[in-house]
């Protein structure tokens, strides 16, 4: 059993199940993300762990202690709220010291600890500022410092980066990861941003309509999504409907090599391939030929729409300073043999 264990945790609001039979075991020091679209129950799960929402049934165990019916102020967990929820009438130092004050830590020890934690989140020198005088990123650091100052066994992050602009968000991702590793605090982060979840978590828990659908390391989740939903939610995916035939794909009469699968012969099947796994090559030398219909320049890469006999395929080509691809060009497409996967039976037979 893990350090933090959720056992068939369920929350119902009337007939609606916000979270259904969630079983999750988190190891000590692990960074786990709960990933899913809004309304999938990930925030409800976090609030149940925090003690802000009472579970309908199931158990929450922390290091062998049953937390299920413990009041939030007795759990001693650190929580970073989506809105940061800083105390606007207290200075940065007073905000951070609040948890220690509640624990009746004496003044000298408190000041020393606040100083350490502010150094950890790189806010030294900001002690006397008030939250309204801070930028979004700084507010977030204060929220993290305030949660970490009490040395919580578990740190809960509720969409910690969603209020930051894109550039700062990327910076703070790595900052969060650095802080988490240097303190070794077991962390659970809720997010709807797959890039965020993949980049900094040890494991990602994908949630869909109140249920957990896949728990995996980021790389394995990306490469082997368990459901069609996950494959389109995590990263971009080309999906082509065809038929499983002779151990490979038959898409609109085009035979393509495909990763092995347990599909039976002649089953209508959805095939999937990631845009970045496809490379451009000379016509006739790849698996399939096509014509570029649209070329979008993204700075670090080109996103190309290529019309082929098997259908429209999106290709992501890194920008290496070569001749830019233009709409109207005839190209060949090639990919490693097993990049094309049979995802499952086609939703609509083709």
């Amino acid at each position: 059993m893990g350090f933090l264990a959720l056992q068939s945790l369920t929350k119902r609001y009337g007939d609606f199940s916000a979270v259904q039979d969630l079983d999750l075991s988190v190891g000590k020091g692990e960074f786990v993300s709960l990933l899913g679209p809004s309304g999938c129950g990930k925030t409800t799960t976090l609030q149940m762990i925090a003690g802000l929402v009472e579970p309908t049934s199931g158990k929450i165990m922390l290091d062998g202690r049953d937390l299920t019916h413990e009041k939030p102020n007795k759990r001693g967990l650190g929580i970073v709220f989506q809105s940061y929820a800083l105390f606007p009438h207290l200075s940065v130092a007073e905000n951070v010291a609040f948890g220690l004050e509640m624990r009746k830590v004496n003044r000298a020890a408190r000041d020393a600890r606040v100083k350490d934690v502010l150094a950890l989140v790189r806010l030294t020198g900001m002690e006397d500022r008030y939250p309204r005088a801070l930028s979004g990123g700084q507010r977030q650091r204060v929220a993290v410092a305030r949660a970490l100052v009490i040395a919580p066994p578990v740190l809960l992050l509720d969409e910690p980066l969603s209020n930051l602009d894109a550039k700062l968000r990327e910076e703070m991702q790595f900052e969060l990861s650095r802080i988490q590793r240097s303190t070794g605090t077991t962390t659970i982060m809720v997010t709807h941003d797959q890039a965020e979840a993949l980049s900094i978590s040890d494991r990602v828990v994908v949630m869909e309509a109140g249920r957990m659908t896949q728990v995996d390391a980021p790389y394995r989740l990306y490469e082997n999504p368990a459901t069609a939903f996950i494959s389109s939610f995590v990263g971009k995916m080309n999906r082509l409907d065809g038929v499983w035939r002779q151990g490979g794909a038959d898409i609109r009469g085009v035979q393509l090599p495909c990763a092995p699968s347990e599909m039976s012969e002649n089953t209508p099947t959805t095939f999937a391939i990631r845009p970045e796994k496809i490379a451009l090559c000379a016509t006739g030398s790849g698996q399939i030929d096509g014509t570029i219909t649209n070329a979008f320049f993204l700075g670090d890469a080109w996103l190309l729409h290529v019309e082929t006999a098997a259908g429209m395929v999106a290709v992501s080509m890194p920008n290496r300073g070569e001749e830019p691809a233009r709409a109207g060009m005839a190209v060949g497409l090639s990919w490693p043999p097993f990049a094309l996967r049979a995802e499952g039976p086609a939703e609509r037979p083709s």
Binding site: A50, K71, K74, I79, F81, A85, F87, Y130
Partner: protein, 283 residues
């Protein structure tokens, strides 16, 4: 180009005329009136004198009434804050439809005339009223409530409560509910979270509520007039008596102006003291 220079003046004209006509002119007239002499046999004199100001400020009778007015208004404000703030907090934690129902209960009294409510209280507090009957039934001696300061304060609190509850409720609406939750998760008890985190943030609401309640209480007329009786006077009833019974209009005008000035000074000082502190931290 000329229209551009005229337009702003035209735009402020209606408001300016209203303000000049309804506030400034009567105020100046009252000020002029207060400087005229008065004679009981011949009425208002054409000469100018400061005698009324000297008379009011050196007479214990008037100073006593001013002090009572201040005391009653301050006490009403304090009790309104003690009842109104928790009332607003409970209201903000309610869910619809109960919230709408109780908001109506709080605002409801404003729809009934103050005079009607004052008569209601005089029936409840009278020597054979409901309150005294209840006290007798419990074996307590009957007390005189009507025509006392207690009666005035009780009725004023009843009338003024919405003016405290609503500003506090408004500032509670602006509060991020996660802030209170954050305090709880950091180990604060619900009461500590309320005291250390919620209370300081509704200071501004309580401040504006206090100013409204204090101002209205200090100049209240119907309640002290009907529940204070003929002898227990407050500033507004005193002014009324000077005008309507003594017919000494200049003296009445003097008292009215002095009360206005005192009220302004107290409210501005209070505002500065509390707001400066709140602004520094809340911005």
């Amino acid at each position: 180009m000329t229209t551009n220079r005229v337009t702003p003046w035209l735009l402020v004209a209606p408001g300016a005329v209203l303000f000049l006509g309804l506030v400034l002119v009567p105020l100046v007239l009252t000020g002029v009136l207060s400087l005229h002499g008065y004679n009981h046999t011949t009425g208002i004199q054409p000469d100018f004198t400061l005698a009324h100001y000297r008379a009011v400020l050196s007479d214990d009778y008037y100073l006593g009434i001013f002090w009572r007015t201040f005391r009653i208004a301050a006490l009403t404000t304090l009790i309104c804050a003690l009842i109104g703030a928790p009332e607003a907090y409970i209201l903000s934690r309610m869910r619809d439809p109960w919230r709408s129902v109780f908001l109506l209960v709080i605002i409801g009294p404003l729809l009934v005339s103050v005079v009607v409510r004052a008569f209601g209280w005089s029936m409840l507090l009278g020597s054979s009223g409901l309150v005294n009957q209840a006290m007798q039934a419990l074996g307590l001696p009957s007390t005189r409530l009507l025509y006392t300061e207690t009666a005035i304060v009780i009725a004023l609190v009843h009338v003024m409560l919405p003016f405290m509850a609503i500003p506090v409720w408004t500032s509670l609406q602006k509060l991020d509910p996660a802030v209170e939750a954050a305090a709880l998760t950091l180990g604060a008890s619900p009461f500590t979270a309320l005291r250390r985190v919620v209370m300081p943030q509704v200071t501004m609401g309580m401040l504006s509520g206090s100013l409204i309640v204090f101002g209205l209480s200090a100049s209240a007329f119907a309640i002290p007039g009907l529940l204070g009786g003929r002898r227990l006077k407050m500033a507004a009833t005193l002014v009324y008596d000077e005008y309507m019974h003594e017919l000494n209009w200049p003296l009445g005008a003097t008292i009215a102006l002095l009360v206005l000035i005192a009220n302004l000074v107290i409210m501005l000082a209070y505002n500065r003291a509390v707001e400066a502190r709140a602004r520094r931290t809340l911005g």
